[in-house]
């Protein structure tokens, strides 16, 4: 069984649900274009119809065919993406993260301030912030795509594109060029890619193909 890289996207129900789903879906699709085996789905136990409740979306990427397809959570997320920054106060987002993982937060606050709320940050390889709300302040509310439906509004509207750009830069698991073919807002993608701020904690794991 090959190594499955787990990406967990934390968001809030209804008002930012679609953006997080776009982040997980678009990133998985871009990785698929590079020949990887992927899965992208919503967490089933979070009831997403409640406004502002924390919900999760998952993407899983592997070099080989994924054997355990039917799981409820990513128990050891290598990459955690936070679409709404207050979540770090309410949830232990680094739970289960192995050493050298990555944390990406959508916020305009400085990294040091965010670290005040994450005491177990020493497990991280790097933390990054991107001001997706500043880049494209629009948020979409679209229920197509929820509950296993098909997304008709198109991927990447709202704050999803800048976050995807930041992920492409920080993780290196999907190329920006491939993401640009999938998302609708390529300008925001480029800005997210350029404007992400990163702080490294330790040398990230050698077996991953992101910089270090």
């Amino acid at each position: 069984m090959g190594k499955v890289t787990e990406i967990t996207v934390w968001t809030r129900g209804v008002v930012m649900d679609k953006e997080a789903r776009d982040v997980a879906n678009a990133f998985a699709q871009a990785a698929k274009m590079e020949g990887k085996f992927v899965q992208a789905f919503d967490n089933y136990e979070d009831l997403p119809d409640r406004v502002l409740v924390t919900t999760r979306k998952y993407a899983r990427i592997s070099d080989e065919e994924i054997e355990m397809k039917y799981l409820y959570t990513n128990s050891h997320p290598d990459v955690v993406v936070i679409v709404e920054p207050t979540i770090v106060k309410g949830i232990n987002v680094l739970k289960g993260m192995p050493e050298g993982g990555l944390l990406i937060i959508n916020t305009n606050r400085p990294i040091d301030y965010m670290l005040k709320f994450i005491p177990n940050a020493d497990v991280l390889g790097a933390i990054a912030t991107v001001d997706a709300d500043g880049i494209s302040g629009v948020r979409t509310v679209d229920f197509s795509g929820s509950e296993g439906g098909v997304d008709v509004a198109g991927l990447g509207a709202g704050i999803a594109s800048p976050i995807l750009g930041a992920m492409a830069k920080v993780t290196g698991m999907a190329k920006k060029e491939n993401l640009a073919k999938i998302v609708s807002d390529v300008a925001a993608l480029e800005r997210g890619y350029k404007e992400v701020k990163m702080q490294k904690f330790r040398k990230s794991r050698a077996e991953y193909f992101w910089g270090g």
Binding site: R12, V53, Y72, S75, P85, T86, I91, F117
Partner: protein
């Protein structure tokens, strides 16, 4: 996700298990439990005795224990199991000078998060359950309440392990 606990057999269980093994290994007697119809030439499988512990035992591990019939206690005032403070993005900030103690916020809050602190004679906000719906901010007739981003405040960190 489950964890399997390997529990050592002790006392009563050990005895039961030995009895079970004995029953399983004993030869099936004619006229007792049903036997195979044809004679037992080599290659014939022995039939299972219908007496004996064929149903096994069921043991729910402690970390997966559930209440009988799924009946759970209900809170009278406040419970610690389902904290919802991590739902909010903004929190109401009260200016006690402007507040007229009209109790409109107390009435309006859908989660009963405003109460009156008798000792200090001012309205007290329940940080554990406020979801940041801003109804109280909208309803306050004295403009004593305003919204502030939750992330501005370093208190009120709950860091739950799971959303619920």
């Amino acid at each position: 996700m489950k964890t399997k606990k390997i529990q050592k057999a002790k006392g009563r269980n050990e005895k039961a298990r030995n009895l079970k093994t004995k029953a399983m290994n004993s030869k099936v007697k004619a006229g007792g439990p049903r036997t195979t119809a044809k004679g037992s030439a080599g290659g014939r499988k022995e039939s299972v005795t219908v007496f004996g512990d064929v149903f096994g035992t069921i043991n729910v591990p402690k970390d997966r224990a559930v209440p009988f019939g799924a009946i759970t206690p209900a809170p009278v005032k406040q419970q610690e199991l389902f904290i919802t403070s991590n739902w909010r993005i903004v929190r109401p900030v009260i200016d006690h000078e402007k507040c007229t103690r009209c109790f409109t916020c107390y009435i309006a809050c859908p989660d009963s998060c405003w109460s009156f602190n008798e000792k200090e004679e001012q309205m007290e906000w329940n940080w554990k359950f406020c979801k940041g719906c801003q109804i109280c901010i909208n309803e306050c007739p004295a403009d004593a309440l305003s919204a502030a981003p939750e992330l501005d405040f370093e208190d009120g960190v709950v860091r739950l392990e799971k959303p619920f």
